[in-house]
């Protein structure tokens, strides 16, 4: 069973990574999306815009709570990844398979995908509070994840692991830690309001 899953994972990787070189514009688009700047900055800008958006103070406060929960979940996600990397190391696909590499060779563990965890954490938390913005961020997270496989730096199972970490972090932040952090968020928003920033 495990062997079948590994085979499926490898076959999926080869199918996606095998697309490299067939279309110059797709290669260009994936090279634009794969790095640590394009998608993470775009997602963070959506969060910044969300902080200031809202037709009335009530809606704006709800958006600001969503942003604070997303930041908290991001911290939790980073902690889970760091803890996992201390216990388990999986080599990158370019170290074990023939790969069409469109990116540099990262040295950290391949599983779970850190960029996918970051992207899915943001997307899932925001989706819980703001469906439209969350759907946009989910689309960006999917594109980012696809680009990571396309460019040869992650296996599809790494992406699934990253998405799972994102889901766990989102759940931890918005459900399990909610009672603990809600008063702190209220204080933070109140403080920012007194300086006309929330």
């Amino acid at each position: 069973m495990i062997q079948e899953v590994i085979e499926l994972d490898r076959a999926l990787f080869e199918a996606v990574n095998g697309l490299v070189g067939r279309s110059p514009w797709l290669d260009g688009l994936m090279r634009l999306l794969v790095n640590e700047y394009f998608v993470p900055v775009s997602m963070s800008l959506v969060l910044l815009a969300l902080w200031f958006s809202g037709a009335n103070p009530h809606l704006r406060k709800a958006n600001q709570r969503a942003v604070l929960y997303a930041i908290l979940a991001q911290g939790l996600s980073a902690a889970i990844i760091a803890a996992n990397n201390g216990l388990y190391f999986r080599p990158r696909p370019f170290a074990t398979l023939p790969v069409n590499l469109l990116y540099y060779r990262p040295t950290d563990s391949s599983f779970p995908s850190n960029p996918a965890a970051m992207a899915f954490t943001f997307a899932l938390v925001i989706w819980l509070f703001h469906r439209r913005a969350g759907a946009g961020l989910l689309l960006l997270a999917l594109l980012f994840s696809f680009a990571r496989v396309y460019c040869g730096v992650h296996l599809p199972s790494d992406i699934l692991g990253g998405a799972a970490v994102g889901g766990i972090a989102a759940l931890l932040a918005t459900v399990i830690l909610k009672g603990m952090v809600e008063p702190l968020f209220r204080i933070a928003i109140g403080l920012a309001r007194s300086f006309y920033l929330a």
């Binding site: 790095n35 700047y37 910044l48 469109l102 006309y196």
Partner: protein
């Protein structure tokens, strides 16, 4: 150019653009560069984002080892703070007349602006920061004027007491009858 500086410039300008667009969408005039023209602010925001993305990704190959996760977070937060400060400062400098910013029916009495971002719909950031300072200053001025009048009357008080009283017919003096 070092990647740190390029990243800060890229994020600062992108964040400025995003702020202009969201301020135009929700009428936060205290964040506009062009207070009288929300449409222009929105277009300027879109243009700023596009240009900063184009510049950052075309100026060098970004698919090489660069900033780490913690550095990215730090520089992103720094750039966002910079962008918000620039937007608030430029918007405040661009709107010298408070009433021109206020939508009809939403003018607030001095010293009591609505709390939070909602206040930026009617005034610039510097005006809002000055408002709470203006009220105590006005109170202090009023108190000083009161004290000045009281001391003036106090000086006039003993002089009037020394003046001879005018006879008004009947007096309370028991020996006068």
């Amino acid at each position: 150019m070092p990647i740190e500086l390029a990243y800060v410039i890229f994020v600062t300008f992108s964040a400025l653009g995003a702020l202009q667009m969201v301020a135009a969408r929700y009428g936060l005039q205290g964040l506009f560069f062009f207070p009288a023209r929300p449409r222009t602010s929105s277009l300027a925001g879109l243009l700023t984002i596009s240009v900063s993305y184009y510049w950052f990704f075309s100026s060098a190959d970004r698919n090489v080892p660069g900033l780490e996760g913690a550095q990215l977070t730090f520089f992103f937060c720094l750039s966002c703070l910079l962008a918000v400060s620039i937007a608030l400062a430029l918007s405040s400098l661009g709107s010298r007349q408070p009433q021109s910013l206020r939508p009809p029916g939403q003018a607030n009495p001095p010293g009591s602006p609505p709390a939070g971002l909602e206040a930026l719909k009617g005034a610039s950031y510097f005006q809002l920061l000055r408002a709470p300072l203006r009220l105590p200053a006005a109170r202090a001025r009023r108190l000083f004027v009161h004290w000045w009048w009281i001391s003036l009357l106090g000086q006039a008080g003993p002089a009037s007491a020394q003046r001879p009283r005018k006879a008004r017919g009947k007096t309370d003096d028991p020996g006068s009858d």
